[in-house]
């Protein structure tokens, strides 16, 4: 009996031990690696927080977003950083992977606010951004987020320092509407089908396409969302084939396009024009020669198009950072590129590195902020902090690529 009693008591001593462990760890917790900026060249570093979904379910978006952020920061430093009052500032990336876990994303946002990280990129995934941004509200930080929901938040009083660096993805203007119109003009469809994933982006794009098609007089005969864990697309293709639409919208990422095209090819369903919802690159279409009509819309700009000489400086910068030439999917690398470069210029022009309101105002109004090398997009922020730039579509007809816009 005594044996049992003592055993129990000992066992319980573990709880305080764990507590002590926790307390000790608390003092050193939360630290982590940061970006690889060469701080030696600068007098002081400005921390740029990166809160992206590098792993987890949304990693196929988050990883390019993170790379884009690194690239942009690298570029600012390569261009000499920011000089204010004779002091040279460089950008320093503070990278955190939120693993597509909102709990983690909130933790990271709070860590940033605690550590005085005033400039934050991400989260760029809507389902992670929303909860994380809630906790950035009211904190003194300036946020750029590629998340779809950011476009609907910007301009609202609770989002005064939020910037949306991609053209609006839904609604009456912007990427989706433009893509739908371009497709309608090119392919003159009577019947359209939409097959997108059941996730926030798929939802946004699907609704956008449906509205745009219908207002252009195109009948939407199929509007389906597959589960984000779907791997077998044969049933969807079977359904589509039976409906025989003229255009099929798929995407919004390459990862969905390839399996769908594989099944479409196997099913002999190659007659319609396949529209890649913005985010899809031309790459997957090249693998299916029997599919002769396709269109993709650049989320940013086709940086691999050699005919576009205005991008030469950008391509040099790209090669310097990534050590390879831009490919079909490299448009992702522009997500934060211009915004971060413009941010650096606004600091310079406004003559401050910590007055967020002054920096924001300059970012919107000063023409000076666009004057940096390797500028890639003709990007401008409107008074709501929403980015605008020319939208570019790419048609792939019988293996030939052509650009519009």
């Amino acid at each position: 009996m005594t044996h049992r009693l003592r055993r129990g008591r000992r066992a319980l001593t573990l709880l305080p031990v764990a507590l002590a462990f926790t307390l000790v760890a608390a003092c050193g917790g939360g630290s982590g690696g940061s970006g690889a900026a060469a701080s030696g060249d600068f007098d002081e570093m400005i921390k740029i927080g990166i809160n992206e979904s590098v792993t987890g379910p949304a990693a196929s978006n988050g990883a390019p977003f993170r790379d884009s952020a690194r690239f942009a920061i690298d570029q600012v430093n390569a261009d000499g950083g920011v000089t204010v009052d004779g002091k040279r500032y460089g950008f320093e990336a503070v990278e955190r992977d939120n693993e597509t876990d909102p709990q983690k994303a909130i933790g990271i946002a709070q860590e940033f606010s605690r550590d005085g990280v005033k400039f934050v990129l991400g989260p760029g995934i809507s389902s992670v951004f929303s909860p994380a941004f809630e906790s950035m509200q009211g904190t003194d930080s300036l946020v750029f987020s590629a998340a779809g929901v950011a476009t609907s938040l910007v301009g609202k009083p609770e989002a005064q320092n939020l910037f949306s660096p991609i053209n609006p993805q839904a609604g009456t203007a912007g990427l989706i509407k433009d893509a739908a119109d371009a497709a309608v003009e090119k392919f003159k469809p009577a019947r359209a089908a939409i097959l997108l994933p059941n996730d926030p982006l798929g939802e946004l794009h699907g609704n956008g396409f449906k509205t745009a098609f219908e207002s252009a007089g195109v009948q939407v005969v199929y509007n389906e969302r597959f589960g984000s864990d779907t791997v077998d697309f044969a049933p969807y293709v079977t359904q589509l084939k039976a409906l025989n639409p003229d255009v099929v919208v798929i995407g919004p990422l390459d990862r969905w396009v390839e399996p769908i095209l594989t099944e479409a090819t196997a099913a002999g369903f190659t007659t319609p024009a396949f529209i890649g919802s913005p985010g899809v690159s031309q790459a997957p279409f090249g693998k299916f020669p029997t599919i002769t009509k396709a269109m993709v819309t650049m989320v940013t700009r086709a940086v691999d198009n050699p005919a576009d000489t205005s991008l030469d400086a950008f391509r040099t910068a790209y090669k310097a950072h990534f050590d390879k030439d831009p490919g079909p999917s490299s448009f992702w690398s522009l997500i934060y590129f211009d915004s971060v470069n413009m941010l650096a210029r606004s600091m310079q022009v406004a003559g401050t590195v910590d007055d967020l309101d002054a920096i924001s105002r300059t970012l919107l109004s000063s023409p000076e902020v666009t004057k940096y090398p390797a500028r890639a997009l003709d990007l401008k922020y409107d008074e709501k902090h929403q980015a605008h730039y020319p939208i570019q579509h790419q048609f792939i007809i019988d293996g030939q690529r052509s650009y519009v816009g």
């Binding site: 987890g56 969807y236 079977t238 002999g268």
Partner: protein
Amino acid sequence: MSSELFLQALVNGLMLAALYALVALGLTLIFGLLDVVNFAHGQLILLGAYVLSSIVDIGANFWVALPLVVVGLVVLGVVLDMALFARVRDEPINGLLISLGLVAILENAFHVIYGPDLRRVAPPIDAVIDVAGIRISGNRLLVIVVTVFVLVALSYFLRRTRTGKAMRATAEADEAAGLMGIRVERIRHIAFAAGAGLAGLAGVLMATVYPIEPSLGEGPLIMGFAALILGGSRSPLGAVLGAVVIGMVQSFGTTYLSSSLADVLVFAFLILILFWRPQGLLRARLETAL
């Protein structure tokens, strides 16, 4: 047109059924002989797929890689069983908990080693069979053919070979089997190895028709469980039957209703079957089945 749609849905469903049958068979062997609910089965499937992609990447032929992967997973199965699961035989729930730990470790490993991007294995067969407008790709046909072959072979193995008979006896009554001179522990290692091998094979076949990614294990695992339950949990034949039902519900549900409804349908069907017929569609056991 509509009969064509129906037949195409049937063909699509058959491949799903074949894949789920392999998964459910593996789960059934492990559950039937070891009482372990192996949540890590999905990760073993994925491991098979990833290892295949790695072997093919270094230039090996698919047909060489296939047996390598299966053998590799069989060996891994033996190791896992001897090192982990054999130590908690008397408390089956601990086997389940260990499998949860394996899920975390393997999934983490896939993320770190292979990254989040989709990986693809060049399909071994580049042909499509077209019979009166009903089309099936050679790779999908391969899944069905291999599964049927495995079913026949497994049936022969369980009925005709010494080890197979010993497995059936052990599944039925392990103590009695032990008294009859069957080396029960050895039989259990074999069962786990066979289960892991089937998972590896399912992974290989899956990689020929689907792109693979780290979170891909969950779907086949859940559907495998569903098939297992429908089939009565310890019966290989039942597991196959359950897999056919699930594959068809999914295929026809997606084709004629909607995908989200098809999934809801699978779970609702499972709940109702469990409620009305907890013994499954078939009451057969390893001993009488196949």
